[in-house]
């Protein structure tokens, strides 16, 4: 989706200056401060650590040819979290607590003729 490019290419998220929390993906309202929250765009850190992971063997349409692939929930250096694929990493290093860094990858293409969606993935450092 073209409008998501800032998020997907550069991890652009939201910072609430009222409560100090970071959100990814972007939000229009801070769930804690609601309308009192002063929200600004914020680039997320490019490193973090794995909180949990799974290796996916049965994929949804569009990802069938990539199995098995790793998914993880990553906590970034600013405590914001995201769900991401983990690539270029041997199975024995993908584990809770592993340090990861941002990479730029192809996420999805619905057909050889269709547009390509690029975005964020992470790899174990």
């Amino acid at each position: 989706m073209w409008r998501n490019i800032p998020e997907r290419y550069n991890l652009l998220g939201t910072h609430c200056q009222t409560c100090g929390k970071y959100y990814f993906p972007m939000r229009r309202v801070c769930p804690t401060c609601r309308r009192k929250g002063k929200l600004v765009d914020a680039k997320m850190p490019e490193t973090g650590k794995i909180l949990s992971y799974s290796q996916v063997f049965v994929a949804p349409s569009g990802f069938e040819h990539e199995t098995p692939y790793f998914l993880a929930i990553v906590e970034l250096a600013n405590k914001a979290t995201l769900l991401t694929q983990i690539v270029d990493s041997k199975a024995d290093v993908v584990k809770e607590g592993a340090r990861v860094e941002l990479v730029f990858r192809k996420i999805y293409e619905d057909s050889p003729e269709g547009a390509i969606a690029y975005g964020y993935k992470f790899r174990v450092v």
Binding site: P31, V56, P60, E64, A72, L83, G119
Partner: protein, 388 residues
């Protein structure tokens, strides 16, 4: 607020219904419930139907009108609810609110899904719509994967094992052997689960509920009028619902559903009960880990001890809190929009004494149904009390 009772229940068998369409399924379940309630169709003043993804599964929306039309109920008002896998539970709650608030005396509520007309990959996409499309499905997260992320963290934090998770599936299959409506009436072993191959590690095929066609329905009535129709009304003692973030990664915890805790607390307060007062539980075991977390979040055991709690037999028939005596989502099958209603029906059957004899809890007075939408963004909890 008026008290509300369940006066009739009905369902189709759950399974792969190659020759039946969504309209066939919901009509069959609806008519069975109305007949079971001993009401006339003309007495039913409104219809509430839960359905998650008919648009993606069969290209059909406008399910409220479809129900009224196919069951010959026009022109009564008909509503479709959508809250992913909690669509049925939400339909039940809205129907309850409509009667409790005095708008109607008798309403029918249903849940339905026709899932087998699409490929497994397309079904995975449809189901993943229950999560956050932009941050989860976009990155290749299926629903098993989302729950796998919870399972892995649960294992990491509390030492829960794959065998303990497998036990949930084993026990549920053991119960379903007695359930004539269940998709899988076949006992399995822990070895079967462990050998069934990863779908999204650590979850294996037999940790996961299946793709299922089916519908379930019930008739609700203002309690003060229930005796006009049935000798065995079951009262809805509590109806609670809570919401949480759509995406798993934004939750306060990966090892439990906060919305379950909130809804349960509310339900216990409404019904003036505590977990120890509950005789049986139908919980939302879309994946084995979901059952372990539900037992914890509903307060039947301490956070982190769910695996051990199951292992010790506390959830067996005859245990501290017999859980999913129907077979649960795992073995009864999981037509996503139907499950919330089906869970409630199986609690009602137990309280009426209508459950299959080998798994009928003796003198059951209070039962709880627990229905989860997505990975916990919507949770509905209903408490039922024997009303006769």
């Amino acid at each position: 607020m008026r008290k509300v009772s369940v006066i009739g229940v009905g369902q189709t068998t759950f399974g792969e219904h190659w020759s039946l369409s969504l309209r066939d399924l919901v009509t069959e379940a609806g008519i069975k419930a109305i007949e079971n309630a001993n009401v006339e169709g003309k007495d039913v003043q409104a219809l509430f139907g839960g359905c998650m993804a008919s648009g993606r599964f069969i290209g059909q929306e406008h399910i409220g009108a479809l129900m009224a039309d196919q069951m010959g109920m026009n022109p009564v008002p008909a509503y479709r609810t959508e809250a992913a896998c909690a669509s049925g539970g939400v339909a039940l709650r809205l129907a309850y609110m409509a009667v409790a608030g005095g708008m109607y005396d008798v309403v029918a509520v249903g849940g339905m899904e026709k899932m087998t007309d699409v490929s497994t990959e397309d079904a995975a996409v449809a189901l993943a719509g229950a999560g956050d499309q932009e941050s989860e499905l976009f990155n290749g997260a299926t629903f098993p994967a989302i729950y796998a992320l919870m399972a892995r963290r649960h294992m990491h934090d509390f030492g829960t094992t794959e065998e303990q998770m497998a036990l949930c599936a084993v026990k549920n299959h053991g119960h379903a052997v007695h359930n004539p409506y269940a998709q899988f009436r076949k006992a399995i072993t822990v070895e079967n689960v462990m050998d069934s191959g990863y779908i999204a590690s650590p979850l294996k095929l037999l940790d996961c509920s299946p793709l299922t066609d089916g519908a379930a329905a019930m008739v609700l009535c203002a309690s003060d009028k229930a005796k006009e129709y049935t000798d065995k009304p079951v009262e809805i003692a509590a109806s609670a619902q809570a919401s949480d973030t759509l995406a798993l990664h934004e939750r306060r915890s990966l090892t439990g559903l906060h919305a379950t805790e909130v809804a349960a607390k509310d339900a216990y307060k409404q019904a003036k009960i505590a977990p120890k007062d509950i005789d049986l539980l139908e919980c939302h075991d879309c994946f084995s880990i979901a059952q372990i977390m539900a037992l914890e979040d509903l307060g039947f055991c301490k956070k982190g001890t769910g695996g051990k709690f199951v292992e010790e037999g506390n959830t067996d028939f005859g245990g501290v809190i017999p859980t999913n005596l129907s077979g649960g989502l795992k073995a009864v099958g999981h037509p996503v929009g139907a499950s919330g209603v089906r869970e409630a029906i199986d609690v009602v059957r137990q309280l009426r004494g209508d459950a299959p004899a080998p798994v009928q809890v003796k003198d059951a007075q209070i039962g709880l149904s627990h229905n989860v939408g997505g990975s916990g963004a919507t949770v509905v909890v209903h408490a039922f009390k024997k009303g006769f």
